[in-house]
């Protein structure tokens, strides 16, 4: 497959993942900035609903955990050609700094190793404030089922609301 075809396919996967998002992923209002098998970079706009305080000065750590988990999902879909289903086995997150900013949150996630049954993901989170100081770092393992007719294809063939 040529590079151009590849990049189209990556864009399509990212587009399906985002446009068919439901629930939390839709609530987070994610903007995909980069999506290829080497990693994904996703932007999450500030949302006062995700804060610890009414003044909106501090994000709840759980939001960063959720953002990492979601990003691992997309990076797996891009890195693993024939992934049919995947389930998170475990997730580990270190909160490196207080999440005290109203700037957009940016996450980078990559699938850095895949075997027939397992995928390993790693990611980091920072605020879009210039210094890129890491706010959180996470890693996760996923159980894979490989085969034809993956989740994204199913999403793509089902109509809106289907």
């Amino acid at each position: 497959m040529s590079d151009a075809k590849d990049s189209e396919r990556f864009a399509m996967i990212a587009n399906i993942w985002n446009s068919r998002a439901k629930g939390l992923i839709a609530e987070m209002g994610l903007i995909i900035e980069r999506a290829d098998p080497q990693g994904v970079q996703i932007r999450m706009p500030f949302n006062p609903d995700f804060c610890l305080d009414e003044e909106g000065t501090m994000l709840h750590g759980g939001v960063l955990t959720a953002l990492l988990d979601s990003s691992f999902g997309l990076s797996n879909f891009l890195a693993i050609n024939d992934v049919q289903t995947m389930a998170t086995l475990d997730l580990r997150v270190d909160y490196l700094r207080p999440a005290s900013s109203r700037a957009d949150v940016i996450v980078f996630a990559e699938c850095y190793r895949q075997t027939r049954h397992i995928a390993f993901g790693s990611g980091k989170v920072w605020f879009d404030t210039g210094d890129r100081a890491e706010v959180a770092r996470g890693s996760a393992a996923f159980a894979l089922t490989r085969g034809k007719g993956g989740l994204l294809e199913k999403l793509n063939t089902r109509g809106p609301g289907g």
């Binding site: 439901k22 629930g23 804060c51 759980g62 988990d69 998170t88 086995l89 997730l91 997150v93």
Partner: protein
């Protein structure tokens, strides 16, 4: 601990309202809470199961409450967490029990378990560390 005081505190936290859980039991060693399923909690759009991050957030939220000296204390600082996902988070009311394993002057360690209908069949287990200073 008084459940009304706990609820009042939870109601002041935007993200806790977003999760929408209520604490049903609280004593010195553990807290129990339940969270009704909402569309905004969905992770997998096909299966319409809970988002893993929502399960982790619910467990973290409850764990953070168990280490407070009282409901006027400032929130503890989360250090890190590990979550073990054991079963699919099917739509339904999710329950969580958070148990303080150790609470010292500076640090606290809290274990959590989340389940749908049967506590013996957990959906996830978690381990959370907090800095108390």
């Amino acid at each position: 601990m008084n459940l009304n005081d706990i609820q009042t505190r939870c109601d002041r936290v935007p993200f806790f309202r977003h999760l929408g859980f209520s604490v049903t039991e609280a004593n010195d060693t553990h807290f129990l809470a339940s969270m009704p399923f909402e569309e905004r909690h969905i992770g997998n759009p096909m299966l319409e199961t809970y988002h893993g991050g929502i399960i982790a957030s619910f467990m973290e939220a409850l764990a953070s409450l168990t280490v407070l000296d009282d409901m006027a204390s400032p929130p503890p600082k989360p250090i890190n967490l590990t979550v073990d996902y054991l079963r699919p988070g099917l739509p339904g009311t999710l329950n969580t029990r958070a148990t303080v394993s150790r609470k010292g002057r500076r640090m606290a360690s809290v274990e959590t378990v989340a389940w749908l209908e049967d506590e013996a069949k957990p959906v996830a287990k978690g381990l959370f560390h907090f800095l108390l200073v």
